[in-house]
Amino acid sequence: MADGTVIKPDLDFVKGVIDGGGESLKKCYQCATCTVVCNVTPDQNPFPRKEMVWAQWGLKEKFMGNPDVWLCHQCNDCTVYCPRGAKPGEVLGAIRKQSIKQYSAPAFLVNLVNNKALSWLIFLVPAVLLGVILSADGAFFPAEEEIKFSFFASTLTIQLVFVPALTFGFAVGIMGVMKFWADMKKAARVTSGNLGGSISATATEILSHIKFKSCGVSADRFTAHFLVLYSFIALGIATGIGVLYIDILHIESPFSLTGTGFPVKIFGAVGAAGLLLGAFLMMSNRFKNAEKVGSGSYFDWLLITIIGVIAVSGILSWLTRIAGLAPVAYSVYFIHLVFVLSLFVYLPYSKLAHLFYRSAAICFIKYSGREKR
């Protein structure tokens, strides 16, 4: 044993992967069908076969700074052709969850989002917090006849809650991704590269969804993800213009169907519709081939639920407001706010954190030259 390699399996990591949607992990017998049928894996050291054995053996350190698990877009071609039902697509999703956990802080928020047993708390905490803040604001039960959501939650309150929430989400995410980037450089022994070029190539790749297009069996993921991403961008732009009008230019809210802000409203409405359709497609795609491909983990569904509720409650609060159903409109609006807050605060802990880590991984393989080799 003098020259032997001592392997230190991290059993908690294995358990974490198995509990996090990778229950089929141990079925893998290393035939490498997955690495060949995968359309997005590089030729050199392709994934996901090697990740399967590392995860089986609990080699957690192999995943420190590993960009490959993030290059996976969960097309599930591997899972469909897997002769053992080991579902590499699902396992890699569970490994990504572990990776998000590893790079995020503080621990109690990591735990809240990742622990299925705490699922009852996950929306209760932001609901209570928001309830307290809005009550303190004194506008919880608007008396006015006209329904205006700013009576319920003043623009200032909204900004004071949501701007810090989003900033927090991004700050934690960016801190995590910086650690991840350093680990990737260390693991790949890369010291320099063309960062600017890599970032712009990454942006092009993400915006064009080119990788999703190469998915085989679940090519329909392209449409769903495309819709959700671009709808969020549209909604973000509409919100941004709102901030510009109200806070910076101090002119009329652009969100009226009759006023000068009409185009912005339409922009937002299209975004909302796209988000709803995208979320619906994400859900239905998961049921389509569930037996073979898997119907998604808790982690997966948590994000889809947040997106789905945001879309539905957003549209409903608008419709009920127009219909003049004050109690319903305000209640639905409150739910909408709770879920948007959850989206922002949980951004670096939930599956949405892929925004940081997948982008970084794609960028890194361009930066390090792994993609070309």
Binding site: Y29, Q30, C31, A32, T33, C34, T35, V36, V37, D43, Q44, N45, P46, R49, K50, Y81, P83, R84, G85
Partner: protein, 419 residues
């Protein structure tokens, strides 16, 4: 003990069925053996060589054919299918349907009918690698040595070219199907196996890429009585195969196809590697595997083949095969698990080591028989006096099938005597 109780029916005339039949008959019992195809010998007749001794299977087959011919206690039927089995141990009623051969016992095997016949059909005996005529014999040592006319392909009396060519009055295009009713004491099920349908392996180009052949086609390509006279030439252009890849577990150990190991494919590929290496000294062989499974003492054969520097064994399951339509060459993609690199390599020909499917997956034997999901006979659940042999229960090699059939001979004798 009545005569009928002393009779044992053997369904299937492959090596297992032949063995069960001759062993039972030579112990003094009457045997009726029925074979679905026009000839006896089953899959073994299609093999070039046995592993691990690399001897041709014909000698063993011939001995058994001779034992059948010499035994007064064996009645045999070809083109015979069992339609009904009822009753119980010691007293089974069996109905057998005989398809017409259109050629009678006067046939001397002169081949005149074959030459005269205008109808070409795919040669099933060679797994479609070549064509034969509607009037044909599978090979020169076939038993019974009597031609047959494919009733489906033959144009019948309107043509009659074969009848005109036959000097021995052996052709009877008026032959009709017959029904035979039997009373038997015990039944031996020995209907054998089919090769897995590789056209289901979409990513491996099975049945679509010309120079991707099955392991059984490879046996025929190497067999002296095969379509190329034993010279290993690839199907698309007849080029000598100097660079070959074997794809192990082509559909086997795969829950999407055959969720079991077929036991023989690793040994078959190692054996086939020696065919090529012997024929072309400069040839190169690469075998891609998940695990090389050479059970028991077969391990030694594996070591022997592995010693050859021109034979490379690579761990990794081939999951993509593409054809260069211009040259006919075949490119396969696989991850070399040991190095973690994706290999894209071109070969003259690729062999898919496909697995065994029990014949009962596609066509069930009439009677009260239970099957596993994969179509194997559940031997433990068979009625008293019924026995399943060899590959009907699990994939096995010829040697084990023969041992099993010999054991079943004693069981069926006991069964026939008990009642």
């Amino acid at each position: 003990m009545s005569e009928q109780q002393k009779t044992v029916l053997v369904i299937g005339g492959g090596f297992s069925g032949l063995t069960a039949a001759v062993e039972t008959a030579e112990a003094g019992f009457n045997v009726v053996i029925v074979e679905k195809t026009p000839f006896f010998g089953g899959r073994v007749t299609q093999l070039n060589k046995y592993f691990p001794k690399l001897c041709p299977p014909n000698c063993g087959l011939e001995i058994n054919f001779k034992r059948i011919k010499n035994s007064a206690d064996i009645t045999f039927y070809t083109q015979a299918e069992v339609e009904k089995i009822s009753g119980q141990e010691g007293n089974y009623d069996v109905t057998i349907k005989l398809a017409p051969r259109f050629i009678n016992d006067k046939c001397v095997g002169c081949n005149a009918c074959n030459e005269a016949c205008p109808v070409e059909i795919p040669n099933e005996f060679n797994f479609g690698l070549d064509k034969t005529k509607a009037a044909y014999i599978t090979h020169n040592q076939a038993f019974p040595f009597k031609y047959v006319i494919d009733g489906k392909a033959c144009k019948g009396k309107a043509c009659s070219k074969c009848a005109e060519a036959c000097k021995y009055d052996a052709i009877d295009l008026d032959m009709k199907p017959e029904t035979v009713n039997l009373k038997v004491g015990a039944v031996v099920l020995a209907t054998g196996w089919d090769l897995y349908d590789v056209s289901k392996l979409d990513i491996l180009g099975g049945g679509k890429i010309r120079n991707v052949v099955t392991n059984m086609q490879m046996e025929r390509l190497a067999a002296p009585n095969g379509p190329t006279g034993g010279k290993i030439l690839r199907p698309s252009d007849g080029k000598e195969v100097k660079n070959i890849a074997f794809v192990q577990c082509a559909g086997s150990r795969d829950e999407n196809h055959l969720p079991y190991c077929s036991y023989i494919c690793c040994m078959a590929s190692l054996k086939q590697a020696t065919y090529l290496r012997e024929q072309y000294p400069d040839s190169k062989v690469r075998i891609f595997y998940i695990d090389i499974r050479t059970p028991g003492r077969y391990e030694q054969f594996f070591w022997k083949v592995k010693e050859d520097p021109n034979v490379t064994l690579t761990k990794g399951k081939v999951a993509k095969i593409e054809e260069d339509t211009r040259t006919g060459d075949v490119t396969l993609v696989v991850e070399d698990v040991m190095s973690g690199k994706k290999i894209k390599e071109k070969y003259d020909m690729v062999v898919l080591a496909a697995g065994m499917v029990p014949s009962t997956k596609a066509s069930k034997i009439p009677g009260d028989i239970s099957y596993t999901d994969e179509g194997f006979v559940m031997a433990g659940a068979l009625k008293k006096g019924m026995f399943a042999v060899g590959t009907l229960k699990s994939p096995v090699d010829v040697a084990r099938s023969v041992q099993d059939a010999t054991g079943v001979a004693i069981k069926s004798i006991q069964s026939a005597r008990r009642s």
